[in-house]
């Protein structure tokens, strides 16, 4: 089956843990539930004893029936059987009850850890790994893991039963017990053989599921484009391939798991036949009674069943480990952005300094080279330049989303690498280039960065943005549902919500990355008025192509391929007649009514 296994992608951050490491880590999750697990252990013991009583009582009853029928008490025997069954059932109930709670909690903890890891991974992590696959790790893999743990507890009780049974059988007849046990190595051997194969197929199957997940996630997110371009067929064909691959892998996986049990049954069949043959012979020699013989046959069933389940389960267990491994790999993934310390950041004044910085996302595609820039506190700095010149990248670096390769980035003279990022970022207000809204109302979205804000505060802020004109066109004002990613709002409206969200945060540093690019000029001017007063005495970085919005900036920087080629105020740069003047001129041509009139006329 090698050909199917090849080419299934493990993620780069996947790593191998030894079984022992995994088990240790999993046990760590059970620590808080220690007492529950102790009680579970006790009732497991109790129920094993009760399970053992049944065949023993039956076999002794048969012996009595054969040899001393006159003193035999059938009703008493039946009552003992009934009591054993009831006690066993109660023990079982307690076990399941407690282990459901423990497993539920452990899975919850694991999920939370996985989710925390999700919030901690760098932006570069998400550039690389599709959402669908990450989701699959946090939910499906933890799910598979929890199922396994539940089964483990179940099987522990069976294993105990085997031990108790064998001990008891030795007291009945030593030779027969050895014959019975002769089968164990065969079962174990087969089971271990399966182990290797099973682990591989199971990992592949989980990967394949993640791939299916990722495909569906992307194609459904982009369904609008597929429809507009009428390329459903292509997407559908791709899906068919992915789905078929998943089927092949799943089928192999099913074969492996589905065959373990029957194959072991077959092996056990040999054992049963041996017990029958030796047993009858011994009994005919008078070493064994019919009742005891029956007990050994029963015992065979009681031993191989748990052993088989344990061995077949062993692969089930592998499934759990494989899933656990994937979750732990997510949790342990190396951060690319490395902080050297975790210093809380007191109120930021707003000085930002890039010192001789080199930065790239992908080796060989430099974005910034030897970049130096000092922004004094309170300055409004405008960044202009062609698309792809690195403007958004500068904003992302200030956010500490990506690791730079050399140089320094200082905030208020402090190295950004020493900051506690959460306390630092909460003082930044960033409107990203593509506005992202969460499913919910407009109000909830504005409140996102400051959950404790009152409705009144949110409303006030919303009305400050462009004098609140935009709220009129919303069907239900601030209570309008924005839909997934804000899809029920127009692009411009989404940008306005994003601006309001940042204004409410009242940050020390403002970063507006083409924050009004999709807004009409009229609304934009209105917003600008509001922003100007708000940005007044804070450090602000404004990225815009509509140059009218940045004319009043304290300083304008023109970037070209990551280098500062011009710097100064609007008037200075216009006078210098360089790159900016050119840009402004062409922009002006695009935008000025009078100018267009004049040229046309």
């Amino acid at each position: 089956m090698g050909f199917i296994m090849d080419g299934l992608d493990a993620e780069e951050y996947d790593r191998q843990y030894s079984d022992w490491q995994l088990v240790k880590r999993i046990l760590g999750y059970f620590k808080p539930h220690l007492w529950k697990m102790i009680v579970v252990g006790l009732v497991v013991f109790l129920s094993s004893v009760m399970d053992l009583i049944l065949p023993v009582v039956v076999s002794q009853a048969l012996d009595q029936l054969q040899f001393t029928p006159e003193t035999f008490d059938p009703i008493g025997t039946a009552i003992i059987l009934g009591i054993a069954a009831s006690a066993g059932w109660v023990a079982n109930m307690v076990r399941q009850w407690l282990s459901a709670e423990a497993v539920g909690d452990v899975t919850l903890d694991l999920r939370e850890d996985a989710f925390n890891a999700v919030t901690e991974r760098d932006m570069s992590f998400y550039d690389q790994y599709p959402t669908g696959k990450v989701v699959s790790r946090v939910l499906s893999d933890t799910q598979a893991f929890s199922e396994t743990v539940r089964l483990s507890i179940n099987l522990m009780s069976r294993l105990l039963l085997v031990v108790l049974l064998i001990i008891y059988l030795f007291t009945v007849n030593v030779n027969m017990t050895w014959i019975l046990m002769a089968i164990i190595p065969f079962i174990m051997y087969t089971a271990l053989k399966f182990r290797t194969v099973a682990r591989r197929t199971v990992t592949n199957s989980r990967r394949q599921l993640a791939t299916v997940n990722a495909h569906i996630q992307e194609s459904i997110s982009g369904i609008g484009v597929a429809k507009a371009f009428r390329r459903e067929q292509m997407i559908y064909d791709e899906f068919k391939t992915v789905n078929q691959e998943s089927y092949e892998v799943e089928k192999i996986n099913g074969f492996v798991f589905g065959s373990i049990f029957p194959i072991l049954v077959t092996i056990a069949g040999l054992g049963v036949a041996a017990v029958v043959w030796f047993g009858i012979n011994m009994a005919q020699q008078g070493v064994l009674t019919a009742g005891q013989w029956f007990l050994f046959i029963q015992g065979m069933g009681m031993i191989w069943f748990p052993l088989t389940s344990i061995s077949s389960f062993w692969s089930q267990f592998q499934l759990g480990l494989a899933a656990g491994e994937r979750v732990f790999a997510l949790i342990d993934a190396e951060a690319v952005v490395k902080q050297k310390a975790d210093d809380r950041v007191p109120a930021v004044k707003g000085e930002i300094e890039f010192v001789n910085m080199d930065f790239h996302y992908i080796t060989g595609e430099p974005v910034l080279q030897g970049f130096s820039l000092k922004i004094p506190p309170g300055e409004t700095l405008a960044l202009v330049g062609h698309t792809g010149s690195g403007k958004s990248s500068i904003a992302k670096l200030i956010n500490r989303f990506y690791e730079y390769q050399s140089g320094d980035l200082l905030i208020d003279g402090q190295d950004i690498r020493y900051f506690n990022l959460s306390s630092y970022r909460s003082q930044l207000g960033v409107v990203t280039q593509t506005p992202f809204l969460f499913d919910g109302t407009v109000m909830e979205n504005i409140r996102y960065g400051k959950p404790e804000a009152s409705d009144q505060e949110v409303t006030d802020i919303a009305y400050k943005v462009g004098r609140g004109d935009w709220l009129v066109s919303l069907q239900e004002g601030l209570d309008t549902q924005v839909g997934e990613r804000g899809g029920n709002l127009s692009m411009g409206q989404r940008q306005l919500v994003a601006i309001a969200r940042v204004l409410l945060q009242d940050p020390a540093i403002f970063i507006l990355d083409e924050a009004t690019a999709s807004v009409d000029p009229l609304t934009e001017t209105l917003i600008q008025e509001g922003l100007d007063t708000l940005m007044g005495n804070r450090t602000s970085i404004v990225i815009a192509h509509r140059l009218s919005t940045i004319r009043h900036a304290d300083r304008i920087i023109v970037l070209d391929q990551g280098e500062i080629i011009e710097s100064g105020t609007h008037d200075q740069l216009m006078l210098a007649g360089g790159h900016y003047a050119n840009l402004y001129d062409s922009y002006f041509r695009h935008q000025s009514l009078e100018y267009i009139e004049r040229m046309a006329g």
Binding site: G82, A85, R231, W277, W293, I362, E484, Q591
Partner: protein, 599 residues
């Protein structure tokens, strides 16, 4: 009934969707062969297994009453053959079930996906991708479980009870008394148990969907989570949802813990044994027979024991099936209209008194205008006035509530949808790129585009140079939704994608908003070339582009309040002037006017 669908696939099988169980069954019957091989395999398994129990009785008789070596060998051999064939038959049954269940998983996911592709945008607007993912992967996987242990359970129920009971009856009919009472009460109790379990399972699945949707959203918006430093808050939200799921899980565990049939079996076995002993006293039943029937009675514990798992599996599966069906069965409002009008598009567009509502609230109201073939019409208006929505009516992404949208004089609802859409090219405002290579993204709208065509389109969109600056050029992967590109780069890829398509009607929705004005100059030239000979709907805030439109429509709050050429509107529309007048107030660039040249 036949559903409306925007996209149909030839030769797709029809399944019975009238209920979740019937749907699953109709999927199973697609692979009848495996179903029956499985059934036969398991029947033989039970026959062999129970047969071995009967042989044990023989063996006991040999011990008690004595017998020659030949008889001993015969019995042992019979046990050997029965036990081994037990294993082999169950192997056969298992394999058949594996094939059946994985095929059903594949087919049902296929069916779901195909139906999703056919649903209209209105439907997709209302879905959360994360929830769809949960349904298409996990719920579908649950279906697999319904069959694998699930249907096996039904076999077990029937065979695991019937076969040993038949053997028991063959030994002595009277002995059936206890097993029959047990089976009857078992059925009653199990039904009650299932009723109790069902709602918990359904809620559990639903909560799983919610969890998945929330998680998907957080990851998609991770940048915002980070800039707003809301990690802690997000964790709390996740915890709340995960906690709810945990509660349903524990609830399920507790219901399962109190699974009565296990107890009932224990007690039934006591009575059964008593019955055997009683019959022994009456001299009807030998010890050998007691051993045989005790073994047979224990076979009954199998289905009882296994049903504890399989019932939960089945219920999860049915809950999953319901969720899948719910999605498949949702009505879609737009139909592919295969028999509809099908012709080459000339490019005349007419809005005739169009009113459109999103969920009951009016977005466009009585909009009327016409565009001649080859003309360029610009739509201007404030944010939220309905510009983007208007273009979506042209491509029939949504259907109007009142009035008509006509292309070449034919109502879009009467057009063959495929012909209509495949002659349009659109750059949506909210650009979506796929996580594939740049070349694949550009050629997305065209089958078998050559590298040369791709490069030409990229050049027109001023994208060629930046593409070449990447290590892998046109083969560079751009990440999910194109995250590895800058905003303007994304827009230029979208432009190239639309250019390559050579559409009859070109829709440009704010397609240069993230592009600097110098680059835009170049793109505008290409756009002007692209507009030649084709009808163009242009939404932009750049006056220079609007200026050259043949006709401009001014929207305010969903009403077309003015309509005409630039010159006409300047004179007649206060609103038009207002939107753009601000720029007039911007001071004239020093000494640059002349240098700028004609726009």
């Amino acid at each position: 009934m036949v559903h409306k669908s925007e996209f149909t696939i030839e030769g797709l099988r029809e399944y019975n969707r009238s209920s979740a169980v019937r749907w699953i069954m109709s999927h199973c019957f697609e692979h009848k062969l495996y179903f029956f091989v499985g059934l036969v395999g398991f029947a033989l398994t039970y026959i062999a297994f129970s047969g071995a129990r009967v042989m044990f009785g023989r063996g006991a008789e040999l011990i008690i009453e004595g017998g020659d070596a030949g008889a001993v060998i015969a019995v042992s051999l019979a046990v050997l053959i029965l036990s081994v064939s037990d294993g082999l038959f169950s192997l056969m049954g298992s394999m058949a079930m594996v094939i059946l269940s994985t095929r059903v998983e594949r087919d049902s996911r296929h069916e779901l996906y195909a139906s999703l592709l056919g649903k209209s945008q209105t439907f997709h607007d209302q879905q959360r991708v994360g929830d769809i993912m949960a349904r298409a992967t996990d719920d579908v996987r649950q279906l697999n479980f319904v069959i694998h242990p699930g249907i096996m359970f039904m076999f077990d129920m029937v065979l695991g009870f019937a076969v040993p009971m038949a053997y028991i009856a063959a030994i002595n009919l009277e002995l059936l008394l206890v097993p029959i009472i047990f089976v009857i009460s078992y059925v009653i109790v199990v039904r009650r148990y299932m009723r109790r379990l069902e709602p918990v399972m359904m809620q559990q699945r639903m909560q799983y969907g919610t969890l998945s949707a929330r998680l998907e959203e957080t990851i998609s918006g991770i940048e915002i989570v980070k800039v707003a430093a809301q990690e802690i808050e997000e964790r709390k939200k996740f915890r709340r949802n995960a906690w709810k799921y945990r509660d349903f899980f524990v609830q399920q565990g507790k219901i399962e813990a109190a699974y009565l049939p296990l107890l009932m079996f224990g007690i039934a076995f006591g009575f059964f044994f008593l019955h055997c002993l009683h019959m022994h006293e009456r001299g009807i039943l030998g010890i050998g027979d007691i051993i045989a029937v005790a073994g047979l009675m224990q076979v009954l514990s199998f289905p009882v024991f296994i049903s504890l798992f399989s019932i939960s599996m089945i219920q999860l599966g049915i809950a999953g099936a319901r969720r899948i069906l719910e999605l498949i069965e949702q009505r879609s409002d737009i139909d592919e209209n295969l028999a509809g009008y099908s012709a080459a598009v000339e490019g005349a567009i007419e809005f005739d008194n169009v009113t459109f509502k999103f969920h009951g609230s009016t977005v466009l109201e009585n909009v009327s205008f016409t565009v001649e073939p080859g003309q360029t019409v610009a739509i201007v208006g404030q944010t939220g006035s309905g510009k983007s929505t208007l273009t979506q009516l042209v491509s029939r992404t949504y259907d109007v509530d009142d009035g008509r949208v006509m292309i070449d004089g034919v109502d879009v609802r009467d057009w063959n949808l495929d012909r209509l859409r495949s002659q349009m090219g659109k750059i949506e405002q909210d650009i979506f790129l796929f996580s594939r290579s740049i070349a694949e993204n550009i050629s997305f709208g065209v089958e078998n585009a050559t590298q040369e065509q791709i490069e030409n389109a990229a050049r027109e969109a001023q994208a060629h140079d930046f593409i070449l600056s990447f290590n892998e050029g046109y083969q560079s992967e751009i990440g999910e939704r194109g995250v590895m590109l800058s905003g303007g780069q994304r827009q230029r890829l979208a432009l190239a994608r639309a250019f390559l398509r050579q559409p009859r009607i070109l829709i440009l929705d704010d397609s240069t908003s993230a592009i600097d004005s110098a680059t835009e100059d170049e793109i505008q030239k290409a756009m002007r070339r692209a507009q030649e000979g084709r009808t163009t709907i242009l939404i932009t805030h750049r006056l220079s582009q609007i200026r050259w439109a043949d006709r401009i429509i001014v929207l305010e709050n969903g009403r077309a309040i003015a309509n005409g050429s630039h010159e006409e509107l300047l004179g007649s529309s206060e609103h038009y002037r207002r939107i753009f007048a601000r720029y007039g107030a911007v001071e004239t660039p020093v000494g640059q006017l002349a240098a700028g040249g004609g726009a």
